[in-house]
């Protein structure tokens, strides 16, 4: 060193300063977040404009999910591999104007539940009498999710049940019961699926069906012939289940056309969603894959073209577990939220918020991940998430549930997990090489996120403050105005835990409007219909979804928060048929039923 003690002291101070930088960033990040302490309801209402109360028991819902028990060859890592199956979908199956709830169970012999809304704040399980309860019979696999769509346009929502096992299609007999029509429909004998969505990909007015495989379809998880069933890479795996696109032929039958239309992937799909991302009138298909990159299939009405890399979403392999669309900046464009894994000190993938870039040529799209900039990046071992305006302030908020395996609080499996997941494919791909879990947790007992959108590009987590304090292993999230109060309630399906119903109370000064759409030339469920609402100089686009999030489906009704004293200009509906309809003279705090004009 050429300089004396003073210079060396300055250098040492500089070095110490560098070492202190992480704590400075941590403090800044903490300051950006809301207080972690729970507020009472009055304070929460005053500060955030809403509060949530878990009311499942009061609502007569005592559903507890039971997880699957797979082949004994997987005994040592059973909690890890048998960690999904809790799902929730919202449907008004009897067309009484009140949302009902369908939830899946995943133990052999367990029953799924269909909670009929009794209009008085309570629900009643009618799954057995309707014929959609006893669907987890020995030899048929167990439920992983359910999505509803009126595939025959008779006005009643039909049920597609996906399983690690035999997928099932149930026809809704005008709300009085369900008839199993799986064989007539031509569905395969076995798919180990975790995601499915209804959408009319070719615009023929009939709902088609996408199903994404997770484990390969030739694997019977209860009768394994080999333990080599695991992904061959933690982030580049392509040895998962195949993808299916069932084209609705209109006579109760479906034709599998995935290869014909350009969908060919064996990534491990966990979530999918469809939305018209480019304004072409065709719904594009977004798939979040575990153990790899997400895929985006652009739809030209006849064929799909995978453009993950071109659009920027096909790099950075992570553990995709969710697809949710939301116009978070009120610009008439969808952003896409994909959840991943973040575990402090081990693995920081970060969730992705894919925001479309401005200025791309017409018909093309490019995304940038702004999850970090907007504050929705770190959510633990994240699973289901949904966009919805929880406080009716006119900006879409984001509800995220998380947590993987909650066993022994004091012992973690992460060390063992990281050992194997970084290894060669021959090691990671064989379940017998995975160390025994032995009661250890893997990202268990995690706190949830309720990210409020400030409308200026930042989300702030208020989960604890507004009453979301559960630490169950959350899987699916669905939003619905369950009690027709003009507030979005939250239903959360938890793995090996209770079904949670968070009733939402919103400051009445913040107003809302809801739309129930029904197609005529388009599919009757109106899945794929887009409504752009114009008010107070703002615009927000929402679409009727045939399934989104993780193993979930929101209510078909579109809910818009409007803020205080809103002046509504108009609503413009673009139906899947291509027809555009403008609705004027709208008033806040009303539910409008709109039928596609003939």
């Amino acid at each position: 060193m050429k300089h004396g003690p003073f210079a060396r002291a300055v250098l040492a101070l500089f070095f110490v300063g560098l070492l202190m930088v992480p704590s400075v960033f941590r403090r800044i990040a903490a300051d950006r977040q809301s207080a972690k302490t729970r507020l009472d309801t009055k304070e929460s209402l005053a500060r955030h404009g809403f509060y949530l109360q878990e009311v499942s028991k009061a609502a007569g819902v005592d559903f507890v999910h039971e997880g699957p028990t797979l082949d004994p060859k997987l005994k040592e890592i059973m909690p890890e591999v048998a960690s999904m199956g809790a799902s929730v979908s919202i449907v008004d199956f009897d067309r009484d104007g009140w949302p009902d709830i369908y939830v899946t169970n995943s133990k052999i012999g367990s029953k799924n539940a269909l909670y009929r809304n009794m209009h008085d704040g309570t629900f009643k399980d009618v799954a057995s009498e309707m014929g959609v309860a006893d669907v987890n019979k020995l030899g048929t696999g167990v439920s992983m999710g359910a999505v509803w769509g009126d595939y025959d346009n008779d006005g009643y929502e039909d049920l597609l049940l996906i399983k690690w096992g035999k997928p099932e299609l149930f026809h809704n007999d005008h709300g009085h019961g369900f008839t199993r029509v799986t064989e007539q429909a031509g569905l395969p004998k076995w798919i180990n699926a975790n995601t499915a969505i209804w959408f009319d990909y070719d615009g023929d007015g009939l709902l088609d069906l996408f199903i994404g495989g997770y484990y390969p379809e030739d694997v019977d998880l209860w009768h394994l012939t080999t333990t080599k069933i695991m992904p061959d890479s933690f982030e580049y795996a392509k040895n998962g289940g195949r993808k299916y696109l069932f084209h609705n032929l209109g006579n109760g039958k479906f034709e599998e056309v995935s290869a014909k239309v350009g969908i060919d992937s064996r990534r491990w799909a966990l979530a999918a969603g469809a939305a018209d991302l480019r304004g072409t009138g065709h719904q594009d298909l977004f798939i979040a894959n575990d153990y790899g990159v997400s895929e985006l299939y652009l739809n030209d009405g006849k064929r799909f073209h995978e453009v993950g890399e071109e659009t920027g979403i096909g790099f950075s392999p992570k553990s995709g577990m969710n697809v949710a669309f939301g116009d978070i900046m009120n610009q008439g464009k969808y952003s896409v939220y994909v959840s991943n894994i973040s575990e402090e000190g081990v693995l920081i993938q970060g969730n992705n918020l894919w925001v479309p870039e401005d200025g791309t040529p017409a018909g093309t799209i490019k995304y940038q991940n702004l999850a970090r900039d907007m504050g929705v990046e770190l959510g633990g071992w994240s699973f289901g998430a949904q966009f919805g305006d929880l406080n009716n302030d006119g900006n879409l908020d984001l509800y995220l549930t998380n947590g993987y395996v909650s066993l022994d609080r004091n012992r973690s499996y992460w060390y063992d997990f990281s050992k194997v997941s970084g290894g060669n494919s021959t090691i990671i791909g064989d379940a017998k090489n995975w160390p025994a879990m032995d009661g250890r947790s893997l990202s268990g007992y995690q706190t949830k996120r309720v990210w409020l959108n400030d409308g200026a590009g930042r989300f702030v987590d208020v989960a604890q403050a507004v009453g979301v304090t559960d630490t169950y292993d959350g899987r699916a999230v669905a939003l619905a105005d369950l009690w027709n109060t003009g507030a979005l309630d939250v239903v959360v399906a938890t793995e090996r835990g209770p079904l949670l119903i968070y009733k939402n109370t919103v400051d009445p000064a913040d107003q809302w409007i809801e739309f129930q759409l029904e197609g005529t030339k388009s599919n009757r469920s109106a899945i794929g219909a887009e409504l752009t609402l114009y008010w107070d100089g703002k615009e927000q686009i929402q679409e009727v979804s045939g399934g989104c999030g993780f193993a979930a489906q929101n209510d078909r009704r579109l809910h818009f928060g409007l803020g205080k004293n809103p002046k509504i200009e108009k609503a413009v509906i673009r139906w899947p048929s291509g027809k555009v309809q403008t609705v004027d003279e709208l008033k806040p705090d009303e539910l409008y039923t709109v039928k596609e004009p003939l």
Partner: protein, 284 residues
């Protein structure tokens, strides 16, 4: 990682054909070229880099810090090969959704060379120290590369073969070899102690993190002892400490093991040398 690469004492006058390649391999540019090739191969085949901007940021921060500190404290413009390696190593091994850890890790690494010195030598392998500091101090936002480099056999074999040849040409293969042999032996021992499958204990060394660790980090001439036997002993000690840490379920055991063993080995060597000098002086 290899901050200063010692050129082997091999005469290669007027190199031709294959010898030109050997000359290149023997130069101080070999490790930078090799690590760049690894980076490019990993990124082009697997899209390994979450963001090339982050890697470039780490390289830029590393080089800028080296330039400033060397000019100011050493009074000379530095050769930038080592700073480049440090930057690129931080860029590969640090995983974070944020940008700042890449710059900070590189700056801590380089600055440590000028601060943490004893008798004119820096004690820690700079990138080992920088990465260890980040993992310890910023675990909420930083992890290390452990999975994001494909898990397939071919790239693994190519990198191991190329790395082995280059390290052998640089006459440091015995360090890598010793470490690998003892890692495998200790893996079997850990499996016997914990009851975990043997392959689960061997698994980490088949990952990319270890490829960088065994070819670049533990072989760094500036922060390894001088004698060949001593180098083997240190490699053994790193593997041993790592095993103990792994029994305590420490995820980043190899980084931390080198963090502790490396400087201690250097201090012991310095003490031993000064003692020999004293004894020699007393005898004279």
């Amino acid at each position: 990682m290899n901050e200063q690469i010692a050129a082997p004492n091999i005469a290669l006058e007027n190199p031709r054909g294959g010898n030109r390649l050997l000359a290149l391999l023997d130069s101080r540019y070999t490790p930078p070229v090799f690590i760049t090739l690894i980076l490019l191969a990993g990124h082009l085949s697997f899209g390994m880099l979450e963001s090339y901007q982050k890697t470039l940021l780490a390289i830029a921060a590393s080089i800028a810090t080296e330039l400033v500190l060397s000019r100011f404290f050493m009074g000379k413009w530095p050769h930038l090969a080592s700073a480049y390696i440090t930057g690129i190593s931080v860029g590969i091994l640090v995983r974070s959704p944020a940008y700042w850890p890449f710059a900070l890790g590189a700056m801590i690494s380089i600055t440590s060379k000028y601060v943490l010195r004893y008798k004119g030598r820096h004690l820690w392998n700079p990138s080992n120290l920088g990465i260890s500091a980040l993992l310890f101090l910023a675990g909420d936002i930083v992890a290390s590369l452990s999975i994001q480099w494909g898990n397939f056999l071919l790239p693994l074999l190519v990198i191991w073969a190329l790395g082995a040849v280059i390290i052998w040409r640089l006459r440091r293969f015995h360090i890598t070899g010793t470490y690998v042999v003892f890692f495998l032996l200790f893996a079997v021992l850990r499996s016997w102690i914990t009851g975990s499958p043997v392959l689960s204990e061997i698994s980490p060394i088949t990952g990319p993190e270890y490829q960088l660790f065994i070819f670049f980090m533990i072989t760094d001439p500036k922060t390894t002892v001088k004698s060949r036997r001593g180098q083997c002993a240190v490699a053994f000690a790193v593997a041993l400490v790592e095993m103990v840490m792994r029994l305590d379920r420490v995820i980043y055991a190899p980084f931390y093991a080198l963090f502790f063993v490396g400087p201690i080995a250097l201090l012991v060597e310095m003490w031993w040398q000064s003692r020999r000098v004293q004894v020699a002086a007393a005898t004279a």
